[in-house]
């Protein structure tokens, strides 16, 4: 049973990390230009 107290916070923490990363990416404008991003990968600079 003790393992639950360890595993559940870890799972939630990882999920929360993902959520925060997404919100950060959204705020910093990484989703503003989805069409441009697919071409930008090919620029060699």
């Amino acid at each position: 049973m003790n393992v639950l107290l360890l595993v559940i916070p870890i799972a939630l923490g990882l999920g929360l990390l993902g959520l925060l990363a997404f919100l950060w990416a959204l705020r910093s404008g990484q989703y503003d230009d989805l069409e441009g991003a697919e071409y930008r990968v090919l620029h060699d600079d």
């Binding site: 639950l4 559940i8 929360l16 959204l26 503003d32 441009g36 090919l42």
Partner: protein
């Protein structure tokens, strides 16, 4: 010759106007376009035309980055906007950026910050954040909820179950408080306005479910419904985000078009200085200069100068109207031959625009009363689900089940139903709008698709709709060499008709040293021979011009003469759109009734009607007449699609059941139309009708599916058989089914009758619609 002397005298007398005529850019006032960040760095946005591929993006960014003072230049490929930021010390130099872009071969216009598109973008961001939070919460809660469901049939201890319920509560309560805000706010807004919208049962369902789940957890029950509440929010938010993304995209595109159409005016200061300002800065009483070839930017009175105006965008009349000091001019009229000074008047009194706006307001009010599918579904659904929930509650109480169990089942009815319904219509709309977008049609309005589906009568305006908005060279007898020289001269002219010669002759270079004498024409001396292009009088070609007009009474004539040689007369007229006849035939083949309602003269309307094979046409109509005709058709049970572009069409566009405008249309008309189409082809008329029918079919399928789903799920919930597991499966299953069905709207929207040559180029597959 007296003619030459007159021309020179005219040019000298109007030397300052002459400079204004030919100088491409003035001291523009760009401060309105620059926004300064708190840290002192300036930033401006530009709408860029001509960006087609990744190489353009690279060329623009690389070309601008090394400019002095520029901190960064980034092109957004999705909405074709360029954002430039300057370093803190640098003075923002907008003209330098525009010049650099011009060098690279792109047309650009700066953007005033804080437009409608920005507000839409902020709203999209807010919804996506809510969606992310709801998604996170539903995934993690599902992890715990499935453990409970599995534990309930195996060996989970009650303590562990309670622990899991409480962890769910800790995740879901803040998440639902955050992610549900768009619905809570919508419900409150609706209630304040005295209406019960779709948001109300959603809010009620979510709040009650959460309260009940907390109560259940407190009493250590086997089931809690946290997962259901947050999953409902997640699915409904997907629908909202799709809907919003579609609107944001069209709005951004429409704003780009508006900026690129150069909504600017040349302000003449009291000291005689000229300044280029955005249209929004024009105040009544301002004096503006309208040069030949420009559109009149605002209503006003002519103070100075004489000219002939092409008012076809205003009245539909193609013949030029002569104006002089004291005459009224209307926004949208194309200035022909002379520079005008116009005093802007406040839009008050009995001006044409006021009259049109008054008519339009009335027509729009009438139109908003028409119910669309989503509204009708809500109207049926809201009372149905409330009554269902209330009946369940009362029924269980009467059956002696206790208030607790009764309330639980009533809440289950509330929460299990709206899921598929929330996605049924937006999913279809967004997919169909995306498909139309790639064919060059912009939907102004979410209800547009359904309206197009019901159309059985198509009414065309003539000028600018069936015909091309710009004049073209038509027939006439002249030597090819004359056309070539005339076209090279025409390149130096701003007169709208000269564009027809340029287009007819193909690529050419202007003669060096060509001079334009406003009101007369262009002249240049090449190899000792004086070449002239312009009015019949200017070229001494009255006889040839009269002959050309006799041959084609519809045409305007532009003349050319080399030295003392024989003059040539080029008849110029508004030509039909290349595929107009096929589109009209296609509409007839589909069983639509086709009419022309025009403000132009009967002779020209009849000629067009005969060439297109349209039997029903009327000419010389005022805006009131057009509304009256359309209302008469609607009263007779017809559903009318109005296709028009002029200011005089705007009330008719607003009055018709559905409306479509080319992007070259007057401002007011664009605002009144349900959709705008790009390009020279008229084929979008057929594609919107086909797309509308297809979308409506899919929407109805989705609504029927949701109805059947509700009929099955609600009794299950009402009888208390709905465990959280079944609710979760039913909710996600129905949402997926509805979305998958909606994706079929992406399939070909073009019907058969249009030949392949006129079909827009096949769009590249684009993932997603945001």
């Amino acid at each position: 010759m007296c003619c030459t002397d007159m021309a020179l005298a005219y040019v000298e007398a109007h030397a300052s106007w002459g400079a204004a005529n030919t100088k491409p850019s003035l001291g523009r006032d760009h401060s309105a376009f620059v926004a300064v960040a708190p840290d002192g760095s300036a930033r401006a946005e530009f709408a860029v035309e001509g960006v087609r591929c990744a190489a353009c993006m690279k060329a623009i960014e690389r070309g601008l980055a090394p400019m002095p003072g520029v901190a960064s230049a980034r092109l957004n490929f999705s909405d074709r906007r360029l954002a430039v930021t300057w370093t803190r010390e640098a003075e923002p130099d907008v003209p330098a950026i525009l010049a650099a872009l011009e060098m690279l071969g792109y047309t650009a216009q700066p953007f005033a910050p804080g437009g409608l598109a920005d507000a839409e973008a902020a709203e999209t961001k807010r919804l996506i954040q809510a969606l992310a939070v709801a998604g996170f919460a539903s995934m993690n809660v599902m992890l715990l909820a499935i453990s409970v469901w599995a534990g309930n049939i195996s060996d989970m201890s009650p303590e562990n179950r309670d622990l899991f319920h409480w962890i769910q509560a800790v995740i879901v309560l803040p998440a639902a408080a955050y992610a549900g805000r768009p619905f809570y706010e919508g419900a409150v807004r609706g209630l304040r306005a005295g209406r019960v919208t779709m948001d109300f049962p959603i809010t009620l369902g979510v709040v009650l479910t959460l309260v009940m789940s907390v109560v259940e957890s407190l009493s250590g029950a086997t089931h809690a419904y946290f997962d259901g509440a947050v999953m409902l929010l997640f699915f409904l938010l997907i629908g909202r985000v799709l809907d919003q993304a579609m609107r944001q995209r069209t709005r951004a595109f429409a704003e780009n078009l508006a900026a690129l159409r150069c909504e600017r005016a040349t302000l003449a200061g009291p000291d005689g200085g000229l300044r280029d300002v955005p249209l929004a800065e024009l105040a009544p009483g301002a004096r503006i200069l309208v040069r030949p070839g420009e559109r009149v930017p605002a209503d006003g009175l002519v103070e100075n100068g004489t000219s002939d105006l092409d008012q076809s965008l205003v009245t539909g009349e193609t013949a030029a109207v002569a104006v002089r000091g004291g005459d009224r001019v209307f926004a949208g009229a194309l200035n022909g031959s002379g520079a005008l000074t116009v005093r802007v008047t406040a839009a008050a009194g009995a001006s044409l625009l006021d009259e049109v706006e008054g008519l339009m307001r009335r027509a729009l009010e009438a139109r908003s009363r028409a119910l669309v599918l989503a509204d009708r579904a809500t109207r049926l659904y809201v009372p149905f689900v409330h009554a269902g929930a209330a009946l369940t509650f009362v029924g269980w109480l009467a059956a002696g089940a206790g208030w607790h169990a009764a309330l639980l089942d009533a809440v289950a009815v509330l929460i299990v139903s709206p899921c598929a319904l929330g996605l049924a219509i937006p999913a279809v709309q967004v997919v169909a709008a995306g498909a139309l977008f790639r064919e060059g049609v912009l939907l102004n309005d979410g209800t547009a698709l359904e309206r197009f589906a019901q159309v059985d009568t198509v009414v065309f305006d003539k000028t600018g709709t069936l015909t091309l908005p710009e004049p073209t060279l038509s027939g006439g007898r002249y030597a090819p060499a004359a056309l070539e020289s005339a076209a090279r001269l025409a390149l130096s002219s701003r007169h709208p008709m000269s564009a027809a010669l340029v287009a007819a002759a193909g690529p050419a270079e202007p003669f060096p040293g060509a001079q334009e004498a406003a009101g007369l024409g262009v002249r240049a001396v090449v190899g000792g021979v004086e070449l002239r292009l312009g009015s019949a009088r200017f070229c001494g070609a009255e006889a040839e011009a009269a002959a050309a007009v006799a041959a084609d009474p519809e045409a305007s004539v532009i003349c050319f003469r080399a030295g003392d040689g024989a003059p040539a007369a080029f008849p110029v007229r508004q030509g039909l759109r290349p595929d107009a006849a096929e589109v009209v035939a296609g509409l007839a083949a589909l069983g639509h009734r086709v009419l022309i309602l025009s403000g132009d003269r009967a002779a020209s309307v009849e000629a067009v009607a005969r060439r297109l094979g349209i039997a029903e046409w009327e000419a010389g109509l005022t805006p009131q007449d057009k509304i009256a005709r359309i209302e008469a058709l609607e009263r007779a049970g017809r559903r009318v699609l109005m296709v028009g572009d002029g200011l005089n069409d705007a009330p008719a566009l607003a009055a018709a059941h559905a409306s479509l405008s080319p992007v070259t249309a007057a401002h007011v008309s664009q605002a009144a139309a349900h959709a705008l189409f790009l390009g020279r082809s008229l084929a979008p008329v057929l594609s919107v009708l086909a797309a509308g029918r297809r979308a409506r079919r899919l929407m109805l399928q989705n609504l029927w599916f949701s109805a059947v789903y509700n009929v099955l799920a609600v009794p299950l919930a009402a009888t208390g058989c709905l465990t959280p597991l079944i609710a979760a499966l039913a909710m996600s299953g129905s949402s997926l089914a509805v979305t998958a069905n909606a994706l079929r709207a992406r399939l070909a929207t073009m019907p058969a009758p249009v030949p392949a040559a006129h079909r827009p180029t096949a769009p590249a597959p684009v993932a997603g619609t945001s």
